[in-house]
């Protein structure tokens, strides 16, 4: 005979549940105390070139393990950084450390002051390289982001094709480059110049070219638009651009290229010249060493008024909302240690920012790294001779100069009409920041 099942009453069930819950709660203070005390650090790591990204992410993991930190790494591509950080700030759920060029966030007061760290690094590692201080220091002497590398656009040239055409690389001026491109290209398979003229920021290389013709956008203070005073210089540049367009050296489709198309065009052997950072060379080193061997790396050609060679950079910053500012600063300090940077520079696209890094072997081992050293030592901050400020930045993301060029070749506007529109747009943007 089966025994009848004893069913607990509701009261008994509640009593037992409460006892279990209390017991479980009581054991918590004794369980894994170290885990409970581990500080948390959220780190948004810039994602672009895998070898470089891996090096930085691996260092961060090791650092976290060594310092008993609960580190959360998120790899964030540059293109997604602004949408993501915008949402994070508005949702008040920001990371502690970010990697970007940080300029927009600095201007909006979102970053922690790291002037002490800047000075300590400067003192310990023999000073900053090139224009790093100009980029990091604000007019009041404060610093809100620490640069970890320079990078920038260089002239990458299919030297084999140039030599085959009976020419000696590199072309000295932009006009020479056009002449070289016309002679070295092999239509319809290989085009002379793989340069975008679209609504993507890579197209702003045309702004650098325009400035090497002697023009500038705004006054010395970066407040008032003065491009209208440089009409002859702009006209000379527009004549040059029109000649480039008519010569058929730009591949079809450049007016809607995104920021990857110049890379892929060169990678597939369809361009003689492109303007690009050495990320492409690092990719070629692994994936197409034959093409890398045929590639020369040079600073930009000159314009009639000299050389304009801008540099961009990568930097780390601490969001002002962090609950662990000292720990975040410690991470920033440790991540600039020369031994670590030596390993990282060997696999990344970044040029040296501290003088202690200039002696690394990597600069001598790889021929294309030489160009990176030149760029780091002599490159001017983006926008030069204009001031690199919020207004310049907005007109840059708006691709104002490239749009002016598109008006000429896509809509067949006259130079006057396109120039007037560009002046109007620049005026509107700069006037917002003038107050």
């Amino acid at each position: 005979m089966a025994r009848p099942a004893i069913r607990p009453t509701r009261r008994q069930f509640l009593k037992t549940s409460a006892a279990v819950a209390v017991g479980a709660g009581a054991t918590r203070p004794f369980g894994a105390p170290a885990l409970a005390q581990r500080p948390k650090l959220a780190y948004w790591c810039y994602q672009f070139l895998k070898s470089s990204d891996d090096a930085r992410a691996n260092f961060a993991q090791e650092w976290a393990k060594k310092n008993n930190v609960d580190l959360q790494i998120s790899m964030v591509p540059l293109k997604e950084f602004l949408p993501k950080i915008t949402a994070a700030i508005e949702a008040k759920a920001t990371p502690d450390i970010i990697e970007s060029d940080a300029v927009e966030l600095r201007a909006r007061g979102q970053l922690l002051d790291v002037t002490d760290l800047y000075k300590k690094l400067e003192k310990t590692y023999g000073g900053w390289v090139g224009n790093s201080p100009k980029i990091m220091l604000e007019p009041d002497g404060r610093v809100h982001h620490i640069m970890y590398g320079f990078q920038g656009f260089m002239l990458m040239s299919r030297d084999d094709l140039v030599k085959e055409a009976g020419l000696t690389p590199p072309p000295a001026t932009w006009v020479d480059m056009l002449a070289y491109a016309k002679k070295a290209q092999k239509l319809p398979r290989i085009f002379g110049m793989g340069i975008p003229v679209s609504n993507q920021t890579d197209s702003q290389v045309w702004e650098d070219m325009m400035k090497s013709y002697g023009a500038r956008l705004a006054d010395e203070k970066g407040k008032r638009i003065v491009l209208g005073d440089y009409k002859p210089q702009v006209w000379e540049f527009l004549d040059f651009f029109t000649e480039v367009w008519k010569a058929g050296v730009l591949p079809p489709g450049v007016t809607t290229w995104d920021n990857t198309m110049n890379n892929s065009t060169y990678q597939s052997g369809k361009a003689v010249f492109i303007l690009n950072p050495i990320t492409l060379s690092l990719w070629l080193e692994e994936n197409n060493p034959e093409l890398l061997a045929k590639t020369g790396h040079y600073t930009y050609p000159k314009g009639p008024k000299g050389l304009i060679q801008p540099v961009t950079f990568g930097s780390r910053a601490i969001m002002k909302y962090t609950k662990v500012p000292d720990l975040a600063k410690q991470f920033l300090w440790d991540s600039m240690e020369p031994g670590k940077m030596d390993r990282e520079h060997g696999v990344s696209q970044w040029g040296p920012v501290l003088k202690a890094y200039l002696g690394f072997d990597v600069w001598k081992k790889k021929p294309f790294m030489k160009g990176l050293i030149d760029l780091s030592l002599r490159g001017e901050p983006q926008g030069y001779p204009d001031v690199f400020n919020d207004a310049w930045r907005e007109q840059h993301t708006n691709t104002t100069i490239s749009r002016m060029l598109q008006r000429l070749v896509v809509d067949n506007w006259s130079r006057d009409k396109a120039f007037v529109e560009a002046l109007d747009v620049l005026g509107k943007i700069y006037s917002k920041y003038a107050v």
Binding site: L82, S198, G253, T255, E394, N398, R403, D411
Partner: protein, 313 residues
């Protein structure tokens, strides 16, 4: 007299009288309202608050990370004088009208075919959904490659069969850019039309077609007088939903042209993205959206009224 009056007023059995409960009907109404309240609050929180907040943003100088101050109509004046705004208005209308028209015609045609008794009908019905279930970015990157003037399949084929002598830059020529974007968008989204119309067609009684056939009505007349009227309500819902969706489309423009060449495909969503996300100026971006609100409402009302008129007729 006064005392008597007082004693009547105070000692009256009013306090002793039992409390009157609301009627059953009132109690039911109150209960119903109480049950609906959480949903209503949720709807207010999820729909009305963001909507009002967006309107407030349009009147503020809000940038990312700053609380924003009231600036009156400044953002609207700025946006209206911005050169890309007028292009965005025209392009959004052109894109929406053309894409909806193509999707409608294509969807109807495919639905008509798949409503017939053809071999492997179920397979084709499932196959039809393929473009719609694929992630948008995959679809548009594939189309980008198809259109590519240097390595794209379309140019390769046209050159190979001798239709063209030199490659066409579909996405980079003002005359072809918008059309190319519309085609890619229509290809991805027409299956929704087809499936919806097909579902509607299956509810129309076969007897109506049989009778019409007996009366000697041609296929076209059957379509005009039986199929189309039978689908009016579905057409209404589909057009309403997809007009809103198409006007708010962002991926095709962002991934195919970035709004170029020379703003030939600049639509308002792209402009909002540039102003709000790239430049972090949320007030200006909200002003663009707010200015487009009447246009979108007008488009939707237009479509609805047109269909209502047809249905009533």
């Amino acid at each position: 007299m006064a005392i008597r009056h007082r004693s009547v007023a105070v000692a009256l059995p009013t306090s002793a009288r039992p409390t009157r409960w609301p009627s059953v009907r009132t109690r039911e109404s109150l209960g119903g309202m109480a049950l609906l309240a959480p949903t209503l609050l949720l709807l207010l929180g999820l729909v009305l608050y963001p909507f009002c907040y967006a309107i407030w943003l349009a009147f503020s100088d809000k940038t990312v990370g700053s609380p924003g101050q009231y600036v009156g109509l400044r953002n609207f004046i700025y946006v209206l004088s911005w050169p890309q705004f007028s292009a965005a208005v025209t392009n959004t209308i052109v894109f929406t009208v053309c894409a909806v028209a193509i999707k409608f015609v294509l969807g109807m045609a495919v639905a008509l075919v798949l409503n017939q008794r053809i071999r492997a009908r179920n397979f084709f019905r499932a196959f039809l959904l393929l473009p719609w279930v694929m992630p948008a970015f995959v679809v548009y990157l594939v189309w980008r490659w198809l259109y590519d003037p240097l390595a794209g399949l379309i140019n390769y084929a046209l050159l190979d069969i001798g239709v063209i002598a030199s490659p066409i830059a579909f996405l980079s020529d003002r005359s072809t850019a918008m059309g190319s974007v519309v085609v890619a968008h229509a290809w991805r989204n027409f299956p929704f039309y087809a499936i919806s119309f097909l579902a509607g067609m299956q509810t129309i009684s076969q007897e109506l077609y049989d009778s019409a056939q007996v009366d000697g009505a041609s296929r076209i007349r059957q379509f005009r007088h039986i199929t189309l009227p039978g689908l009016y309500h579905i057409i209404g819902v589909v057009l309403l939903l997809t007009t809103i969706q198409t006007a708010n489309a962002f991926e095709p423009i962002y991934l195919l042209t970035g709004g170029g060449p020379s703003d030939a495909t600049m639509v308002y969503t792209m402009l909002v993205y540039v102003m709000g996300i790239m430049n972090l100026r949320l007030g200006e971006a909200a002003a663009v959206s707010t200015l487009f609100l009447p246009l979108l409402v007008g488009l939707v009302l237009g479509v609805t009224m047109l269909l209502q008129k047809k249905a009533n007729a």
